[in-house]
Symmetry: C2
Amino acid sequence: MAGRITAVSIVEAISADLRSRIFSGELGSGHTLTETDVASSYEVARPTAKASIEKLVAEGLLDRGTHKTARVVELGPDSVRDIYLARAYLESEVLRRLARTKEVPEAAVQANRDIAALQTGAPLDVIEPDMRFHISLIDAVGNERISRMYRSLVGEVKLCMVRIQSLHLLDTALIQAEHQRILELIEAGQGEAAAELLDEHLGRARERLVSAMGGTAGPEADVSSELLPE
Amino acid sequence: MAGRITAVSIVEAISADLRSRIFSGELGSGHTLTETDVASSYEVARPTAKASIEKLVAEGLLDRGTHKTARVVELGPDSVRDIYLARAYLESEVLRRLARTKEVPEAAVQANRDIAALQTGAPLDVIEPDMRFHISLIDAVGNERISRMYRSLVGEVKLCMVRIQSLHLLDTALIQAEHQRILELIEAGQGEAAAELLDEHLGRARERLVSAMGGTAGPEADVSSELLPE
DNA sequence: CGCCCTACGATTGTCTAACAAGTACACATG
DNA sequence: CATGTGTACTTGTTAGACAATCGTAGGGCG
């Protein structure tokens, strides 16, 4: 087979393209997407564009109220905390259950190897294998719904990331070491310890994100920032 | 405030009506819903009906492939296990975290009181307060995304329930007692024990559902059932 | 007689065109 | 300065139509 042929509907194709443009940062937070704009830029009818937009709204990537123009969601510090806490809930429980059977998913090991081999590259290159590491752990329990839920969270995480340029704060070596330790704890059957380490791991990432976006004051930014001199 | 006024769109209204008809069992598993049928029966245009159907597909209540008629999802034993395991994942982690702060949500206490006060009623009446109990626990951690995820699972659980008539298997007193014990364990800060009890609680409910639907052989029924004499 | 192929009906995907209804912002008025 | 009005832009919904596709029933051939 020379690459699976994909005969997706137009709606899906447009959704996919918009999604990747959002993740790439081309469509930044707060960017508005009117139905007519989408329709004309992709040369489709408005109902088709409407369907594409509503698909992304359902995914949580776009935001829109009745009779209002859709816009790329703006994730403030509160949202970031919500997302990362949700990740921690899902993933720490997964670690506990994996530890019971001492099951270390090969895909996670490979993802972490990729991080280690990455030492020299651009700082953003760590994101992809990092996400792959976490997704591998989730998928290892073989629960379709849990996997789906986690993927939707990952989508929002990526959305956070594109807002941050200063990702050189990322300490690739530290990330890789913590991942390694988590895998070891699973293998040793110490689920509780693995869950705790993960909590710290995600908590640190979360606070780094929050502080990095603190200056740009998202919609849920605390009021004190309005009192600062401009 | 004398009841919030709700000016929902037509699409939402139709989705809501279809949803309740699905949950009530009026639209049973495998029931087909063509766009034209929905359009004519609600006296709306086909695109409107289409949007309503697609909304329910996104929720996981309907199932449909390209160019194929939408049908109410058929949940086999494997799906039931997947759903209940996902519930266990989310909820047991929630219990652990609630136990850390020894926080017993009042709404959950109330829901369990309602179950206790229910002793004499029809056996299906236990479902509503039971769901409310579990949802209260989830909501208590105040994480928007976790709550959303759990609610989508609850939707599928209700879908399972309507397939089963023989719900007199439900032991209301046992359910109520286990709930009570879970709340006590949270208050005592024993998250691990609470999580374990919940696992049993949900596991029992799951196996009861699976065996109750075993005769009707869902799509994921194991092959041996095909070997049985008809 | 059974099997493959084709033609048909039913259904969905998409488009064009249009009107109704709502929001947001500027403007005029008291 | 607050309030009301109005206009432009956008979305919600409809109607009708055509193409593409799926399932099935019927006809031709071995």
